[in-house]
């Protein structure tokens, strides 16, 4: 217990230390006195021989463990004071460190989550999806397959050891007066075992559930269960009325399972399956396969191609003339190819950011060490031991590192949150959880903290080792060997400026492209339009007449309501138009295949979207009611297929209608009008020929609703839902929202995300470059304090000194800019396909970036330059 007493009796130990040293002095004095020296002189000599009493007391105290805490506190307090004295340095260092850590961690986390670990599925590295590619058009023909194809693929194939398929289906859940629409998926046997995901609650679908005559069951998605059903565990085993069939909820899937973006999964029963959600009466399944380890994607594709060749003869309509099946790795399907490449580019930039952040911190620390070489030398001369100096600098470094790391972690956290928030839907897999990557954070923090300690302490060791006298006599050049690092430091600045130019340039291109995209004339008006899909129960709505019995009265009532000006039935949602079909035009021969988009709609469709008529007229309510064979075409159709002949009164034939379940025997339509072109393949793709015909000619195909309102369209959702329910309680709207919302989601969201990321990068690159230029210029001017003093003493004006410093900085800036512009031009080729309406070599953008960077760089030089002029020549020279 002796050690504990020592801790509690520190006052006593202090007294004893004093007494011990006093004893020594007394004895020495007494000895001198016996030698005959007068007491006063004896005392003086004793003290002289002893050395600084307080200093040795301090050194004694430092050896005692019970004082370590006090010493630590003292060191830190001292370090805090000395950092506070040099606030500009401290802020710059902490900020550079935090930025490096925060930015690299945030971006890396997103890349890792979105690209490297998007799924929590079993062995997802070996999972692949299949695509049918049209070799003549270099186009993705379809990524979905008929059930027959799927069965054939999975049976006749030995390169895969598992294959499952899913089919999207709209599910109306009817409970009393409220019907809601859920996104369902039919899945094939073995799906849950295939993905290897244990259920969160209850059980997954099992082999018996897929048997003929098995009681209908389903599994719910975790998110749906939480949001729509309040995470109510007692729902398990309860029957839900889904699409008129009572189904038992047997389980809730694991939180990260969201295959097919579904809200519920149902087993596909054997035999024929009837579904609501069908484009043209056929069922297309998404196929996922597990490739045997060691089998290459090419081998697998070759194998499937043989089977597909056979199928193309059975179903000629479903295959282009020349095609190939492509097998794509699972992780690749979640992010578009271009986006992926951009992300990889970003990850490389992230590494650079971290490196540059660390280089900046190192530069700042070296600059500070130089200006402090004298202070340290003085302290060493006054008797501070090397240990003391090292410990003090260690304390300073720790403070910097801690502050930088804490701020960096905060930045990383905020960054991940921000990116996750602005990440548009459908950019990444719905299974993906964007969260902070612990390993990346640890790595970034470790790299930053190591930099601080290495560069914070190295000069300390050097300073404390060298002879104080020598350092004091030094003419202000600081540490020997510092000059050798100038080349390296300048290189770092040039690299920073170059990177910053490249990032800024890329960001500006994205901005300009985004602005150009928003200025694209749509040819139709999307404001004040409500849009929704209307999945109808297939057993009761088979024919055009049956459809009319639902939509006719509904549209009539909607139009008569206050706040609604027009209401129309539609097939697809603008600016994407219609169903693609082969088309024949009477009296016009052609050797190649002609295609057009066609839209099954009611008379108000063109009015809702405010598409103006050019020639002829539109069809009337009566014509729709009678399902008359009349058609309105767009300008592109007229230009391409009529070649300056008058289209009015001519016949066109839409071949696909013949193949619909509710087939149109002779699908010939008389052209009665031409309307102006409106975008029908998104904003950036060229406009295709398009035809509008009365929706009543067939009962097949997906249907939807477009409503033009006088006020905010989203406010009308409830009203419209009530009217639909009144028309048929078993029908619900799917995805009701404003047309502007969808336009934003499908058209602007992804470019905006790119803009965000690149903008963030550019901002950080700019900041880091500014800090880099500042730190190096501060270092350089600090080293030349003496020289500047001399110049001022010899008559140089402050202006001349500023000019000297600025010229030095300008040289680095210009060099960096030249390198950066070269790199940007090389890089811009990569991002060309993400740009729209702006050249990747845009001279305006290049010039703007150069000017901006020059201004910021000169500003960073200005601060140390001003400080150089404030050097008092006498102070600077007195160091000699």
């Amino acid at each position: 217990m002796k050690w504990l007493r020592r801790f509690t009796e520190r006052a006593l130990s202090e007294k004893r230390l004093d007494s011990e040293l006093q004893f020594h002095l007394e004895q020495r004095t007494a000895d001198y006195v016996t030698e005959g020296i007068p007491p006063e002189e004896a005392h003086r000599r004793a003290r002289l021989e002893f050395g600084g009493v307080e200093r040795f007391k301090e050194e004694c105290r430092e050896t005692h463990w019970e004082n370590q805490w006090d010493i630590l506190v003292r060191d830190f307090r001292f370090a805090l004071g000395s950092l506070r004295k040099d606030r500009r340095f401290a802020c710059a260092a902490i900020f550079a460190l935090a930025l490096g850590i925060g930015a690299s961690t945030a971006i890396f986390s997103v890349v890792d989550n979105a690209l490297l670990e998007p799924f929590a599925y079993k062995d997802s590295r070996h999972l692949v999806t299949l695509h049918l590619r049209d070799l003549d058009q270099a186009d993705d023909w379809r990524g979905l397959f008929l059930y027959d194809e799927f069965q054939e693929f999975s049976k006749k194939n030995d390169l895969f050891d598992g294959m499952v398929a899913n089919l999207q289906e709209d599910v109306v859940y009817s409970a009393d007066e409220n019907s809601i629409l859920l996104a369902g998926n039919y899945v094939t046997p073995g799906t849950f075992e295939f993905y290897g995901i244990a259920p969160f609650l209850g059980r997954s679908l099992e082999a018996a559930d897929y048997q003929a005559g098995a009681p209908p069951v389903f599994v719910m998605r975790y998110k749906t269960w939480v949001i729509r059903f309040g995470a109510n565990a007692s729902l398990l085993g309860k029957r839900f009325n889904l699409n008129g069939v009572p189904r038992t909820l047997v389980g809730v899937a694991a939180p990260r399972f969201a295959w097919g973006g579904a809200e519920l999964w149902m087993p596909r029963p054997p035999g024929e399956l009837k579904i609501t959600r069908s484009f043209d009466g056929r069922q297309y399944w998404g196929v996922v396969a597990h490739i045997r380890p060691g089998v290459s994607l090419k081998q697998a594709a070759a194998n499937l191609n043989v089977i597909a060749q056979h199928f193309s003869k059975v179903y000629p309509k479903d295959y282009p003339t020349h095609f190939s099946i492509e097998v794509e790795s699972f992780t690749h399907i979640v992010t578009p190819r271009e986006f992926r490449r951009a992300l990889y580019l970003f990850s490389a930039a992230v590494g650079l950011l971290l490196l540059i952040g660390c280089a900046n911190v190192a530069n700042l620390l070296l600059a500070r060490a130089t200006t402090r070489a004298k202070e340290l030398a003085v302290r060493a001369a006054l008797g501070a031991s090397r240990l003391r100096l090292v410990r003090q600098l260690l304390a300073e470094s720790s403070l910097l590192a801690m502050a930088g790391a804490v701020l960096g972690i905060l930045l990383a956290w905020a960054g991940v949150r921000t990116i996750a928030a602005v990440l548009p839907d459908f950019t990444i897999a719905s299974e993906t959880v964007i969260e902070m990557n612990g390993a990346a954070l640890l790595f970034a923090v470790a790299a930053g903290v190591c930099t601080v300690f290495v560069f914070g302490l190295a000069p300390a060791l050097k300073a404390s080792r060298c002879n104080p006298e020598e350092a004091l006599r030094d003419t202000g050049k600081g540490l020997s060997g510092a000059a050798a690092g100038v080349g390296l430091r300048n290189t770092v600045v040039v690299a920073e400026v170059a990177l910053s130019v490249a990032l800024l340039f890329t960001a500006s291109l994205f901005v300009r492209s985004f602005v150009a995209l928003q200025r694209v004339p749509l040819g139709l008006q999307t404001d004040h339009v409500l849009s929704a899909r209307i999945p109808l129960p297939p057993d009761r709505y088979k024919t055009g007449a049956q459809l009319q019995s639902f939509f006719g009265p509904l549209l009539e009532r909607l139009k008569s309501m206050p706040g609604i000006t027009y209401a129309a039935e539609s097939t697809t949602r603008p600016p994407y138009g219609g169903i693609r079909s082969e088309v024949e035009v009477s009296g016009r021969a052609h050797s190649d295949k002609w295609y057009t988009l066609f839209q099954l709609c009611s008379e108000d469709y063109l009015s809702v979207l405010r598409i103006p008529t050019l020639e002829g007229r539109r069809f009337t309510e009566a014509e729709v009611k009678d399902a008359r064979r009349v058609a309105v075409i767009n300008q592109t159709f007229e230009r391409r297929y009529f070649d300056k002949e008058d289209p009015i009164g001519r016949k066109i034939q839409l071949d696909l209608l013949r193949d619909f379940p509710d087939a149109v025997k002779e699908p010939q339509f008389e052209v009665i009008g031409v309307v102006t072109d409106a975008r029908n393949r998104g904003l950036t793709e060229p406009i295709d020929p398009e035809v509008w015909i009365p929706y009543t000619v067939t009962g097949s195909a997906m249907r939807g609703l477009l409503v033009r309102t006088t006020n905010d369209a989203s406010a009308m959702i409830k009203t419209v839902a009530r009217e639909i329910w009144a028309a048929d309680p078993n029908v619900a709207m799917a995805e009701p929202n404003t047309l502007d919302y969808f336009l934003d989601l499908f058209t602007f969201a992804q470019p905006r995300f790119g803009l965000w990321i690149v903008g963030m990068f550019a901002g950080m690159g700019l900041l880091l470059a500014a800090i880099g230029v500042y730190s190096v210029m501060a270092y350089n001017t600090a080293r030349r304090t003496h020289e500047f003093g001399l110049r001022v003493a010899l008559g140089a004006a402050a202006r001349d000194v500023v000019r000297m410093v600025l010229r030095q900085g300008l040289r680095l800036l210009v060099l960096g800019m030249v390198v950066g512009l070269g790199a940007s031009l090389a890089l811009s080729r990569i991002i060309t396909n993400q740009l729209w309406g702006v050249s990747p070599y845009d001279p305006m953008t290049l010039g703007g970036v150069a000017v901006l960077l020059l201004l910021i760089g000169l500003m960073a030089c200005w601060v140390p330059a001003r400080r150089a002029t404030r050097v008092d020549p006498m102070t600077a020279l007195r160091y000699e």
Binding site: E20, F23, G51, V53, F56, E59, C60, T63, H64, E469
Partner: protein, 115 residues
């Protein structure tokens, strides 16, 4: 300048050997700080030009390591003083350091004589 530097190097070098000298002096029996300093100066014939006070941090360090034990006792003159004595581990340390030193000086002596 060169001379100054030489002197400083000597001081740095001696700091390291001071511990061994202290242990050696204390090995003879309980002894207070002032007596240790007198003794070292006496034996080394004033070779060590260290300020006398620098002895104390060394003593405290050795005590902290457990190589020395300290006790407050009256001196012959009746004044209370802190007496140091060697602990068992301190004696082992002294032996180890002496052995090491002998080996080193033998080797150096051999080189100086024969080379």
């Amino acid at each position: 300048m060169a001379l100054e530097k030489g002197a400083q190097e000597k001081a740095e070098f001696l700091k390291g050997t001071l511990d061994m000298l202290i242990l050696k002096v204390v090995a003879a029996g309980a002894i207070h700080g002032y007596a240790i300093s007198q003794r070292i100066q006496q034996i080394s014939k004033d070779f060590f030009q260290l300020p006398q006070g620098s002895l104390y941090p060394a003593l405290h360090r050795l005590e902290e390591r457990g190589w020395l034990d300290a006790e407050w006792n009256d001196t012959a003159t009746g004044r209370e003083a802190k007496f140091y004595k060697l602990t068992r581990t301190g004696r082992k340390q002294l032996e180890a350091e002496m052995l090491h030193w002998e080996k080193l000086s033998d080797a150096v002596a051999l080189i100086l004589r024969t080379a």
